[in-house]
């Protein structure tokens, strides 16, 4: 009874094409936005804002980018952390060496990354499935190598550039709360843009390619164009996420942070969150980012005296176990779980 379509008349085209045709969804989203903008920054500590919420938002954005590519267009990428690295380095170089305004340099990071992405997407025109997945690993290794060996970019052997103070329109972002707002605003903008993108023709082309690319080509969807656009859009999101995570969270661009493990975590995030759903990227990023932190904290409480390397191992065991458990219980991801809950709410409190 809480969640119902009846009485919801679509009497204009605008209403018919609304993103959230059901009032309950709109209220839910409104509540989430109020929470994110007005409640969280004022009620939580700086620790929560700067080391949980900010990385959560950034990785959600990166997961969303990967979801466009893998969940919507069906092209698996195992090199997404490298695209984040490209965005991070590009935006930091623009910001600190060329003194481009902050917002523009974050955008620039995304654009540079979206120029690099399609280069590594070219194999997808010939190769499919796991062959493609493995060959996208090439992106990870080649970009890591370039960033550490090209002195002009990395400024040294360690491949680290420190981020200077952040200014937006002459206003310094020095507290976690201000950085939080920066990240949140960019996130909301890009999520709205992305959600509409996948609702439109491009998204439908991608889904057609995902479901069967030969059939899609037969009905006139250009594989060349759409696959490369998918790589470009996806790495744009990854680049922006990389730029933000560097500026607002790590404080320095370091190639070590964007390693292969992060690529796997991103892929895990969208599989566990739900492929081909925008919401799933958030669930998945929450799982992959927050779960290790919670496991670590919980183990701290229970296993105070165990040595730290054993704790790291228990973290791996619990984390791996949870991944397997989730896949067995709900192989189509948390977004599907949410879907099931909504179906139940349609009839609640009646059995049928």
């Amino acid at each position: 009874m809480l969640y119902r379509e009846c009485g919801n008349y679509k009497d204009t085209y605008a209403k018919d094409m609304a993103i959230f045709p059901i009032p309950f969804d709109r209220w839910g989203l409104g509540v989430m936005l109020v929470l994110a903008f007005l409640v969280i920054p004022f009620t939580t500590s700086d620790y929560w804002l700067s080391s949980i919420m900010i990385p959560f938002y950034c990785f959600s954005l990166a997961a969303l980018g990967l979801n466009f590519l893998t969940g919507y267009a069906g092209q698996v990428s195992l090199g997404h952390a490298a695209f984040m690295a490209v965005g991070a380095y590009a935006s930091l170089i623009l910001y600190s060496r060329f003194h481009v305004p902050l917002l523009l340099s974050i955008l620039g990071g995304g654009i540079v990354s979206s120029a690099v992405g399609p280069v590594f997407g070219i194999p997808s025109l010939r190769i499919k499935g796991f062959y493609l997945a493995v060959s996208t690993l090439a992106a990870q290794f080649i970009i890591e190598w370039i960033l550490t060996h090209w002195k002009w970019v990395s400024g040294g052997v360690f491949g680290t550039i420190d981020a200077p103070d952040l200014y937006v329109f002459g206003w310094i972002l020095d507290t976690p709360a201000k950085k939080y707002y920066l990240v949140l605003c960019i996130l909301v903008l890009l999520v709205v843009f992305g959600k509409n993108l996948v609702r439109g023709q491009l998204g439908r082309n991608w889904m057609a390619i995902r479901d069967m690319d030969v059939a899609a080509e037969v009905i006139g969807v250009s594989l060349f164009r759409n696959k490369l656009i998918a790589f470009a859009v996806s790495s744009f999101y990854a680049g922006v996420a990389g730029a933000m995570v560097t500026m607002a969270y790590y404080g320095a661009a370091n190639i070590e942070e964007f390693n292969l493990v992060l690529s796997f975590h991103l892929l895990g995030a969208i599989i566990i969150g739900g492929m081909g759903t925008v919401l799933g990227s958030f669930f998945g990023a929450g799982f992959m980012i927050l779960m290790p932190i919670f496991i670590n904290q919980a183990l701290l409480v229970f296993l105070e005296r165990v040595p730290s390397d054993l704790r790291a191992n228990s973290e791996a065991i619990v984390f791996g176990g949870l991944i397997v458990f989730f896949l067995i219980v709900e192989p189509y991801g948390m977004a599907r779980l949410w879907h099931t809950i909504k179906d139940k709410m349609r009839l609640w409190p009646f059995p049928y």
Partner: protein, 292 residues
Amino acid sequence: MSFFIEVLINGLLVGIMYSLVALGFALIYKASGVFNFAQGAMSLLAGLALVSFLTVMPLWLALVCTVGVMTLLAYGTVFIIFRPLVARPPLILFMAAIGLAFLVEGIGQSIWGTQAKGLFIGIPEITWEVKEVFLNSFDLFFGVVAAVLVAGLVIFFQKTRTGRALRAVADDHEAALSVGIPLLRAWAVTWVIAGIVATVAGVAWGSRLGVQFSLSLIAYKALPVLILGGIDSIPGAILAGLVVGAGENLAEVYIGPYVGGGIQTFFPYLLALLFLWFKPYGMFGKEIIERV
């Protein structure tokens, strides 16, 4: 010229080691459609187990015990993790294998510790010089072991009843089921074989580099080998391993100095990409013909 041959031969010998890891991937992929990302972690587990067994028992018994551990792991994996996931999309099986890799690494290291350990199985370290080409007894030994292993696998798959059943399963799950081959048991046997291959790879790499966490990273070296040879092809894994091993060694020596070195990390991938552009299913991979 002799320097070129030395680089080439050393590359080939390293390549055999890559083949060993790629072989494990290919076996499991062919039989169950799981892209087993935990293959590197399984090598690590085998290495760790062997080192700890060696402290209390002779080599042959330690090897038997290690294979026992891998068998337990294989049955546990198939019956606990992959039985509920039968007929799920490949990507989900792949993710489950990544979860398994976390599990295996975590469990192995919390039982046997995270410190790097030396692994000595009694092969003398001798270097021979044959016509100005230096050869290492170590590399040669594992080259021979790998060859014996592959020959054994070929005989097993071609001549024995179980081997035929496994090939039937690899060919077509449903047809194999319909003639009465127990699917899950066949998968478990495949995982045991992959576990044995992982043990050999773990011993080979462990006695070279020491048994430590980085052992599970050799999977990334094996992946380009795998796609170059064809994901589901055993001869492909062997041949591609040799090509990649020789190729990356030659590239590092002859191209590396001009671009700043360290190109070994990605050269195999470039090689594989270039080849796949012309043959998208690798050297001997099964070509999938799509129909609308």
